[in-house]
Symmetry: C2
Subunit: 256 residues, 2 copies
């Protein structure tokens, strides 16, 4: 049974897509079979892996709405052991469309329950909101991974996010755990990053991964080449940090 991890934070631009892609790639490189589902209508994960949204016969919206099975929407990437389900602009209308339906929170979970998928990990890249797309991801997931940008405004929203996770855990998915918080875009040149990092660690303790992802321009260049940082510049600080983070996740496997 695949271990499903939702990558979520309603604060925008904190590194959700970058973390989902690069952790998925690092785990695939370590021999795990990984599927990445792009549940963000922006489709940044799809584009960053060099996959064309338009060419996908079936996509994450079709899967959400029950018009396609998960396996029929899977696209192979150039990276061994890593497949993806492409986003669709239609995902932007899901809040509206599910508002009239019964049990709107369980649409994605229903799709997972329909078939057994031969993956070790499934990552879900979420949009920057707490609407029906994110709720569906949290209901279907076993763990939630929370990228936290080392900036003051990113701290502000954490309490709200924890309340949403708690709400989903209590009402819809008793298995949901916090997989971990990942400190991202840490900039050693300023004191602000260190203040935020210490705040997060003092509040969330060992739920915060030891690996900190540094701000590294090579990371932000990689998507324009349709490659994860591990392929674009393996030796970069960003790439090495994501490899360290994947190692921590593999260590969590033992505990599961």
């Amino acid at each position: 049974k695949p271990y499903i991890i939702a990558v979520s934070n309603q604060k925008g631009g904190v590194g959700k897509t970058t973390t989902a892609i690069n952790v998925a790639t690092a785990l695939a490189a370590a021999g795990r079979k990984v599927l990445l589902i792009d549940l963000d209508p922006q489709g940044n994960a799809t584009v960053s892996l060099g996959v064309s949204r338009v060419k996908a016969a079936r996509n994450a919206y079709d899967v959400m709405m029950g018009d396609a099975t998960i396996s029929s929407a899977i696209i192979w990437t150039k990276i061994p052991n890593l497949s993806v389900i492409a986003a669709s602009k239609d995902l932007a209308g899901v809040d509206f469309e599910l508002a009239q339906k019964k049990n709107p929170q369980f649409y994605l979970k229903k799709a997972f329950d329909q078939e057994s998928l031969a993956y070790d990990y499934i990552f879900i890249d979420c949009p920057p909101s707490v609407g029906m797309l994110t709720v569906n991801a949290l209901v279907a997931a076993r763990g939630v991974m929370i990228p936290v940008q080392c900036e003051y405004l990113a701290l502000e929203g954490l309490a709200d996010l924890m309340k949403t996770v708690e709400l989903v855990h209590r009402n819809f998915n008793h298995d949901l755990i916090i997989q971990g918080l990942v400190l991202t875009m840490y900039d050693g040149r300023t004191g602000l990053s260190e203040v935020v990092a210490q705040d997060v660690r003092s509040y969330f303790g060992d739920k915060v991964y030891k690996t900190v992802i540094p701000r590294n321009v090579r990371v932000s260049e990689a998507p324009s080449h349709g490659k994860p940082i591990l392929l674009y510049d393996f030796k970069s600080r960003g790439s090495q940090a994501y490899i360290g983070l994947a190692a921590e996740i593999l260590k969590q496997e033992v505990k599961k």
Copy 2:
């Protein structure tokens, strides 16, 4: 009649809130009467101006849903000529709640039409999505200001955003214009920012403001002090850039 500007981009973390706050502050310093409405359930604009979400008797959600008039929800900030309407977590449920209603796109506009407000400018800080909150802001606004982070992924979503603006212009608000695109977090040390900036200018021409907002750590420190950058560090590069941007906006006044 106030000139209403929606600050919007569904890409997360591109500087919407930072731009809304600092342009509003700079225009207020130039003697214009300015109101800032925080339509993002995260409430970053509210927090960054040192206003407490909890203490606001009425907020943007009350106004949206017709439970309070705009003037009853106005809070004075410590900055002369600048008032704010606080966000509320309840805004996160608006997509769901308006899905069943007739003309869900016009709720905010209805609130504006009910009273005449003695402001020169009204800015609306939008969340990172194209749901009902953003659509309501675009329907009520005269112009849309689009912050564009100088990163590759920020380019990806621009075409979608333009389609949404065009859709709103055609179907709901014929007055809506593109007020301008603002290049943000420009980092002169890397080639990426310049590539993105040139791409945006070649595509959008003179709709792109001449002023470019540099990446400047003082800007990201200011919110933790509850102050706009203009008050936190007037001489910083970030502050001076926002003053330059405000001057360009004032020049647009003549053309209106």
